[in-house]
């Protein structure tokens, strides 16, 4: 008995210590606030009644349908881009890597307005396209991450045996890429199912999703019962998507022979140019709304003008903002840094914990690991307004009344970034062969030395890539930030939304110039990160 218990309890103790940080964070800054708001809904009663309403299920259906449509389009458009990033050796590929991420951070209100300018009565189709626009980068970069290091010899062998290029792709490469594709699709589906600003602007009030309806009922109507019922439906849908995504990731466990991109990338030939053409077309489509924004930032009723850009050093027409556009940009950089540091600490420790749980003997530990993985992803699927109102009703119980603290914004942003960090770091941590560690330990290395010599070097690039992606997401985060940011320290997306909500040409131009600034900051961040991580990317 004692013999059996000792090793288990020591591992157990280590795991428990590791679990305190991510679980503690999740409980205090997510489960408790969200639970408190849901409870307010239940106290009033009638949640079951609201669940039974036909309207609830109509909303759920439209939410799922539009998200599925956007995901399909993002995957179809993202695959040629992934090919371009992973397999093609042509000048300008690094620029493309940076450009595809820019749409991902644009404020939804701006993209919503840009798409509305293209199709005034686009209805659901423009919602689907706008959501896909945001997420092509997720598919492109996630799939490219795997594709770039996939051994091409099996495909070459198939070709040598007489298979056409298309046939070789379909029966050899595509199956190998499938886990990355489904994993990306699950994340894109989550983003689209919970996208808010785009649906509100492009759907008017005709096309509504669970997310926009939760917002309406919470923020405008204070109908917490209805909001709670809809939140439950949304959480159920998100859990379903997470389970599907997890199933897809599990298949990725099968070992793949990986090679470096330098060996696999080459100049395209023959029919491959068609795929390159398709990728270029996708890029062109992604850049169209961006170009429209830039044009808008430069045009006035009387011709071209740089007034919007000059105004970035002011506080807007008649002091719309409390700080200048540049200061807002600095705030964005600072809060995104805080959020990323927080998210990295929690996300990396959670990844290590999840891998340890998965490796530990016994089905219970593995089951706990799987549930924890899902729980850590859940923040992506819960409405920002629910989290924001939840903070208001709970966080005063903590010392120092956190509700008035400037830390609140990074905390909320970290909540969104942590799942992305885990999805990027976890697969790499998982792929480290435990035998390496055991060998080092056998040779007398201390646990700290094993960690320094084996784990850190092997996961370094994935960790940097995760930090970069997280940083970009935090830069663009709007939902929770707009609810929590203080006027003295707005982030760029918050400042843009404030500018665009005022009449007058200069405010409008300045809003679009601030968008250009946000894109520039994003691109610079991506370039730095890509340099550091140089090529190796996890699931993103």
């Amino acid at each position: 008995m004692a013999l059996l218990a000792r090793p288990v309890s020591r591992t157990g103790l280590g795991l428990a210590a590791l679990a305190v940080l991510p679980l503690g964070f999740l409980v205090v800054f997510f489960a408790w606030p969200v639970g408190a708001i849901l409870r307010l809904g239940f106290v009033d009663g009638g949640v079951l009644g609201a669940l039974a309403e036909g309207e609830t299920w109509r909303l759920a259906w439209f939410t799922v349908a539009q998200a599925a449509g956007s995901t399909a389009i993002a995957v179809v458009a993202g695959l040629p881009v992934a090919y371009l990033l992973a397999r093609v050796r042509l000048p300008g590929i690094p620029v493309v890597r940076t450009l595809v991420l820019v749409p991902f951070v644009l404020p939804t209100v701006v993209v919503g307005l840009a798409f509305r300018a293209l199709w005034t009565d686009g209805g659901w189709l423009s919602i689907v396209l706008a959501n896909a626009f945001f997420n092509v980068a997720v598919v492109g970069r996630t799939v490219a991450g795997l594709w770039a290091v996939l051994d091409s010899r099996a495909e070459d062998a198939a070709r040598a045996l007489g298979a056409s290029r298309w046939r070789a792709f379909r029966s050899v490469t595509l199956p190998a890429l499938m886990p990355a594709i489904t994993s990306a699709a699950a994340v894109v589906f989550l983003f689209c199912a919970t996208s808010f600003g785009v649906v509100l602007i492009l759907g008017g009030a005709r096309y509504r999703t669970l997310e926009t309806e939760i917002y309406l009922r919470t923020e405008n109507l204070l109908d917490l019962t209805g909001a709670a019922a809809l939140s439950l439906v949304q959480i159920a849908a998100v859990l379903a998507a997470l389970v599907l995504g997890a199933a897809a990731r599990r298949r990725r466990e099968s070992a793949l022979r990986l090679r470096s991109r330098r060996e696999t990338a080459r100049r395209p030939a023959g029919g491959e140019w068609a795929v390159v053409g398709a990728a270029v077309a996708v890029l062109g489509l992604l850049l169209t709304p961006i170009a429209a924004l830039l044009v808008r930032s430069l045009s006035t009723a009387d011709g071209w003008s740089l007034a919007g850009y000059r105004a970035l050093s002011s506080t807007g027409n008649d002091g719309t903002l409390q700080v200048s556009g540049w200061e807002a940009a600095m705030n964005s950089l600072r809060t995104a840094t805080d959020a990323t540091v927080l998210a990295m600490i929690i996300g990396v420790s959670a990844s290590v914990l999840l891998v340890a749980l998965r490796r530990s003997p016994g089905r219970l530990a593995r089951g706990v690991g799987e549930s924890m993985d899902a729980a850590l992803m859940l923040p992506l699927g819960v409405s920002a307004v629910t989290v924001g109102f939840g903070y208001l009703v709970t966080l005063d119980a903590l010392p120092g009344d956190l509700r008035r603290s400037p830390l609140l914004v990074p905390l909320a942003q970290a909540l969104v970034v942590i799942p992305l960090v885990i999805r990027t770091v976890l697969p790499v941590v998982r792929s480290i062969d435990d035998r390496l560690r055991q060998a080092a330990a056998t040779l007398g290395a201390s646990p700290a030395r094993v960690w320094r010599e084996i784990d850190v070097p092997l996961t370094f690039r994935a960790v940097v890539a995760a930090a970069g992606f997280g940083y970009v997401v935090a830069l663009g985060e709007f939902g929770a930030t707009s609810f929590l940011a203080r006027p003295q320290t707005p982030t760029l997306p918050v400042a843009i939304a404030a500018l665009i909500a005022r009449p007058g040409q200069l405010n409008n131009q300045m809003a679009y110039a601030a968008c250009a600034l946000l894109m520039l900051v994003t691109a610079a961040a991506v370039i730095v990160i890509d340099r550091l991580a140089s090529g190796r990317v996890g699931e993103f």
Binding site: I201, A205, D318, Q509
Partner: protein, 346 residues
């Protein structure tokens, strides 16, 4: 590897050095009053600084969405308020805040200089700070160029010559949209407003989710140069659309205005009530009231405060706006929005 690690460590160090985790600048000192307000709040720093000079009180501004979201945040946190005073609860939401006991009674000595006109409760828990009128705006250039007479009243909007020319906001998602709906209810009454909206719909009215889309994309009079020359906006909007010739390009129809009054009050349960009262006095003072037109596009509640020069021609205060009693709005709001939604098929 080691070079890269060095770069990364350096980068992280540089970034965290400037990071706000270290510095906690909440200004939550004993002489700080936290003023909870809505997203449209804006005040010149000099005026806030001057107030601090006079009283030693620092105003820490916290914004919480629009008037509705602000009210709801105050209601949800009434047991332990997020601030000491609140500004921006408007006549549409005042009843909810009052019936939930969010505010403490306080009669400001400044209130008899005009704000009293808009009083909503006998206990003076709320003091009027500003008034804003939501009115139909038109693009005067468009009407001149197309030789169509300018519309003037609600009734005009349903006439055939104005078919497919108007854009309004959805009252469920937009506060000017809600004000316009309330304006039509005030004008046509509980019995007939739905009839009016049916005619408006048959006349091709377009609905947008929010003011941003309606004004900057659908409306032809803004810099967005949209297709429609009639939009629901504010009486003050034309002041922002003045051309190089100094003449306004748009105009508010003064017979279609609905008045929203914005209030401020001391939050019940604030440990800082005496200082919060000083902040209410400040919001009603000549000094602050003189800034509201330029900074928030609303009209001061105080009497005798001069409007900016451009406003006197482009955006005069509407003389006879409509309005509904706060408790009537509170009682009807949800039902009217629901009826509007099914009427417009939204």
């Amino acid at each position: 590897m080691s070079i890269r690690t060095g770069v990364l460590v350096g980068l992280v160090a540089a970034l965290t050095a400037g990071c706000s985790l270290a510095g906690n600048d909440t200004h939550d000192g004993p002489s700080t009053v936290t003023l909870v307000t809505h997203d449209s709040f804006a005040a010149p720093q000099q005026v806030l600084d001057a107030f601090k000079q006079q009283t030693g009180i620092t105003i820490n501004v916290v914004k919480k969405g629009d008037a509705g979201a602000l009210t709801n945040a105050l209601v949800l946190t009434k047991a332990n308020p997020i601030g000491d005073a609140a500004y921006g609860v408007d006549s549409t939401f005042a009843s909810r805040a009052l019936s939930e006991g969010v505010f403490a009674p306080y009669t400001s000595p400044e209130a008899d200089r005009g704000p009293q006109r808009y009083a909503v409760d006998s206990e003076h828990r709320l003091s009027a700070v500003d008034v804003g009128d939501v009115c139909v705006n038109i693009d005067t250039t468009w009407f001149a160029a197309h030789g169509v007479p300018e519309p003037e009243t609600y009734d005009d909007l349903v006439k055939p010559e104005y078919k497919d020319l108007a854009v309004v906001e959805n009252p469920a998602t937009s506060s000017p949209g809600l004000a316009f709906l309330l304006g039509t209810i005030a004008r046509y009454g509980e019995q007939n407003w739905q009839n009016y909206w049916t005619r408006l719909k048959d006349n091709g009215v377009r609905t947008a989710a929010g003011w941003e889309e309606a004004y900057s994309q659908d409306f032809s009079g803004s810099s967005g140069k949209g297709p429609r020359p009639i939009v629901v906006s504010y009486a003050s909007s034309p002041a922002a659309e003045i051309g190089d010739d100094g003449k306004p390009r748009t105009k508010a129809l003064l017979d279609t205005c609905y008045r929203q009054v914005e209030y401020a009050g001391v939050l019940a349960g604030s440990p800082n009530a005496d200082k919060a009262q000083k902040v209410i006095d400040f919001l009603l003072s000549q000094q602050f009231q003189a800034t509201v037109a330029d900074n928030m596009y609303v009209y001061p509640a105080r009497e005798g405060v001069a409007l900016p020069h451009t406003w006197t021609t482009a955006a005069p205060l509407p003389p006879n706006p409509a309005s509904l009693p706060a408790d009537a709005v509170q009682a009807g709001r949800e039902r009217w929005i629901e009826q509007w939604r099914s009427l417009l098929g939204q």
